[in-house]
Symmetry: C2
Subunit: 228 residues, 2 copies
Amino acid sequence: MTGTGSEDKTRTVQPRRGRADKATAIVQAACQVFGRDGYSRAGIDTIAAEAGVSTRTIYNHFPGGKEELFRSVMRWSSERVRDAQLAQLRRYLDPERPPHPANLERDLLALARAWVGLMTDFRDHFALVRHIYAEVGHIPAEVLDAWQETGPRAVGGEVTAAMAALDDHGLIDVHGDPAQATVHFMALISTEITQRSYWGLSPLPQEEADRLTAAGVRAFLRAYGSAA
Amino acid sequence: MTGTGSEDKTRTVQPRRGRADKATAIVQAACQVFGRDGYSRAGIDTIAAEAGVSTRTIYNHFPGGKEELFRSVMRWSSERVRDAQLAQLRRYLDPERPPHPANLERDLLALARAWVGLMTDFRDHFALVRHIYAEVGHIPAEVLDAWQETGPRAVGGEVTAAMAALDDHGLIDVHGDPAQATVHFMALISTEITQRSYWGLSPLPQEEADRLTAAGVRAFLRAYGSAA
DNA sequence: GGTAAAGTACAACGGACATTGCAAGTTATA
DNA sequence: TATAACTTGCAATGTCCGTTGTACTTTACC
């Protein structure tokens, strides 16, 4: 149902799609437009223009029309961002190689900055997510669940694992609930930046963002640092 | 205690038609519909039906049409919620009467619970706010600023004052930035509940919400409790 | 170069919806 | 009761936009 329905028959006949990979261009442009305008306001014509593609081609690739396109964008974008987030997580807080105690704050801060950086790197995605939040009531529960599962929940689970590892090594004290510590960490490092930047509309100067991130990390460490 | 806020003209029971306080009914219904469906999806006919009013009457009261109505709803709703929030703040954390140290956690927890409770009492408002967040790019900057100023910023300022007062009395240590402590407090007590309840779509059981709120307050006190 | 898939241009349909004008009905007030 | 103010139902207008059919062109690959 949710699949594009065109990946089975192309295996034998077609090595790759037509000219350039139009499908990718469409999804990418749709991510921008949906993120900027939201589902209702976004126009197929606008997406087509932004993708450098004719309107008809969109319907050829996505027979389900606007809805199917939106669902594809949700999946594509959230997987992309999830991978980027997991990459940063493993880079700065690999559960396999916990940091030296003296480097804990430094590493957490690096992770937090990278995390916040992704918010501007994937501005379109997070704009889209805000629209999803606003329209939870208009998105089928199954679609919503699938998205949460492969996106936010997967990432949250990995971060939680990292927190648990830090706890295991006595670097922090999660007070019995690493998942909760994770949510608190995310909230502390990103809430104020999100608010102050008008949800990405007018980004903060780098140094100001850094200052707020650092304050969040310090607050987290005061709340969850091991008693030592 | 979600009052309708229209009992100033309490005569006798008004007849179903004619000269009731239509304007209020319209704005109230519009708040529901805009909150549920968002600006684009919301239909004037739907609002009219929900308000028990003819479509034409809406245009009589709001000659600017949908846009003016939306702006009126923003103002009305945010002022209403602001007043409710300030009332709770003064009730549990009056800057004039700082709590006894032994009662600090109890009072903060009471405030936090009341605060979270407002999110369900004014579900429509917060749904509307999510739509505003998602559509920052489509709302005139002046309207957005006026809203922030009389709503969130005003409340934030008062909470910040309360935090500063707690700091002055040595009950907490804001580390030189009461505004930051305020944002962190709000983030800690509400982030997880918001996420887990799908942004109000499927509310959490009371005891679960209480548990998360309490965890947030405890984390806040670990981060900002005075060293004494 | 030939063929088929992929893409494009264009026109048209149909529905949803904001908005307005108007005539008639209802209410409040003097 | 008279009158002005308010409300309503309804029809109509215009616009925007998702979607589809069709004929034509481009591209990829043999």
